[in-house]
């Protein structure tokens, strides 16, 4: 851990330098164009200052995004439609609902696959095949169709999140529930354990490390699902809607701030699972 204390900030700092440099390069044509029409000659420092302060830059400088983030999170009321916290909340709610649904479905399928030979042989290949279908691509259809049968709001987005998040859970849990070796299973049998006892006292506990590893992936996938699910709803609310609205009106700063917010959300949620993982595994004596 300590070893990465120095290199990580260096790399991050380097990324910021590249970002600033790129925003000068990408925004320069517009700055030159404007200067030419105004009939003034731009010095280098003026050029840099201009490229870092444009209204609709091709690539906003980091501080512009930071200012926008500050304005839309701290300065605005949470209930306001222009508050990024409000939009994050909308996205977060469907992310979490989809995540919970996906986890329940995933664990259920995994238990079935481990305990039922027919399911193992018939469902598992389709679970894998289901992920080669780009569900994100049919997100608009799912939203429209569910809207037509009267289901709207949170649930359609959550279903897309669920579809993306159940897969890592199934794969991880199948591996985890099968992780106890012959010796341990035999031991349970010597103790005359019932099937239920074998599941609750051996298989489930030993699958926990696998479960948490997949939950982290599932959470990230679920957020992506929620964001894409918001695209076709006509840009009403949510981070996906902010992205779409921003791309319609060329509000690059708004896109970037929504993007950073989504990144922070993903990082926060994954870190939260990491904390739960550490506490749980510690109490179970596994970490």
């Amino acid at each position: 851990m300590r070893k990465s204390l120095f290199p990580v900030p260096t790399v991050v700092a380097a990324l910021f330098v590249i970002w600033y440099a790129m925003s000068v390069v990408l925004n320069a044509p517009w700055a030159y164009d404007r200067a030419k029409r105004a009939g003034v000659e731009l010095s280098f420092s003026e050029l840099v200052a201009d490229t870092w302060a444009q209204d609709k830059p091709k690539l906003p400088a980091p501080h512009q995004v930071a200012v926008e983030l500050w304005n839309t999170t701290v300065e605005k009321k949470i209930t306001s439609k222009r508050s990024l916290v409000f939009h994050s909340g909308v996205t977060l709610s469907s992310t979490l609902l989809g995540f919970v649904l996906g986890t329940v479905l995933g664990i259920g399928l995994a238990v079935g696959i481990v305990y039922n030979r027919v399911m193992d042989m018939s469902v598992m290949p389709w679970v894998i095949a289901s992920q080669t279908i780009p569900i994100l691509a049919i997100a608009p259809m799912i939203i429209v169709v569910l809207n037509a049968v009267g289901i709207s709001g949170l649930l359609p987005k959550a279903i897309i999140s669920m579809y993306l998040s159940f897969f890592p859970v199934v794969v991880g849990m199948v591996k985890g529930l099968r992780s106890p070796d012959m010796m341990q299973l035999d031991q349970m049998r010597t103790w005359n354990a019932t099937g239920g006892q074998q599941f609750w006292k051996l298989r489930l506990p030993s699958s926990m490390p696998y479960l948490f590893a997949s939950l982290k992936i599932a959470m990230a996938a679920s957020l992506v699902g929620a964001i894409v699910g918001e695209l076709p709803t006509g840009a009403v609310a949510g981070l996906g809607a902010r992205l779409l609205a921003g791309s319609y009106y060329g509000q690059t700063i708004q896109i970037w701030s929504a993007l950073i917010m989504a990144a922070a959300l993903a990082a926060g949620l994954v870190a939260l699972i990491g904390v739960v993982q550490r506490v749980t595994l510690k109490r179970m004596g596994m970490a």
Partner: protein
């Protein structure tokens, strides 16, 4: 009513057949037959539910209707396939995976970069990168170049993380052996470390195939010329032509599965020595 009974019969028959087959000794034939029967049964149930309950084709078209539409509009489907899969996804996939492998070798060469860039790469790989799509569409225009760019960004980090991990898969004993052979860095890389990294690289390639398709299609939602699978899906949803949407999904699923299967076969041929392939 007849259709509903047919659906129930198909369900029970498929289920019974699978229970019977799964009790037989495991072989290649049963391993293949069981999932196929499962799939066919699902299709039959779907068909009979749609017909039996008279579900409007606007909501959920029957599989037969989708197949009919597929047969009629192969021209459009092929045009979209070329635009999205061959031009957008494939070029992005090749560029992104190639760049990631090269970067991984560089990162591996310098421990400083590995300690600094890898945590950042891991972090970025978990982010909703698809959100970059509107920005990249703005930068690279509406045609396939912007879709390829989205795909590059999407596949780069998972691929990088996997390859870097793979390059460390050799143990000290093997590297020492190469040193006793007096082989230099490049020879060691080519003859020992890249082959040893292959299972990890293929893992990354597999993850990247699905990501590439998703990236190329979703990027088209943010602007595209008047062809492409993402464009067709979003406009057909607007026209309530659900059978065409489903036909596009079938194309995407076939393309996705075929590429995934191709990568898996290539993996089998190239990493035949790995324990996971010997089974």
């Amino acid at each position: 009513m007849g259709w509903i009974i047919f659906g129930i019969v198909a369900w029970l028959a498929g289920w019974g057949l699978n229970v019977y087959l799964s009790r037989l000794p495991k072989s290649r034939a049963t391993g293949l037959a069981v999932p196929v029967i499962f799939g066919v049964t699902l299709l039959l149930i779907w068909e009979s539910i749609v017909r039996g309950f008279g579900i409007s084709p606007v909501l959920l078209p029957a599989p037969s209707a989708i197949a009919a539409r597929f047969a009629v509009s192969t021209g459009i489907l092929w045009e979209d396939f070329v635009q999205t899969v061959l031009k957008g996804a494939f070029s992005g996939y090749v560029i992104g995976c190639g760049a990631a492998v090269v970067t991984a070798v560089i990162v591996d060469r310098f421990p400083f970069l590995r300690r600094g860039l890898l945590p950042v790469g891991n972090f970025v790989a978990a982010l909703p990168i698809i959100g970059m799509a509107p920005i990249l569409v703005m930068w690279f225009g509406f045609d396939w170049q912007s879709k390829a760019a989205v795909v590059v960004v999407m596949v780069f980090f998972p691929m990088l993380v996997n390859t870097v991990e793979g390059l460390q898969a050799t143990d000290t004993m093997q590297r020492d052996l190469m040193r006793t052979y007096a082989s230099n860095y490049w020879v060691t890389l080519r003859k020992l470390r890249l082959p040893a990294a292959m299972p990890f690289i293929f893992n990354g390639l597999k993850i990247a195939t699905t990501l590439a398709l998703i990236g190329a299609i979703v990027a088209e939602f943010f602007g595209s010329p008047i062809r492409g699978m993402g464009f067709r899906i979003s406009t057909s949803v607007g026209q309530l032509a659900m059978d065409l949407v489903w036909a596009e999904i079938v194309v995407a699923a076939i393309a996705g599965s075929a590429v995934y299967g191709g990568v898996a076969l290539l993996e089998k041929a190239m990493t035949f020595w790995h324990p996971s392939q010997r089974g």
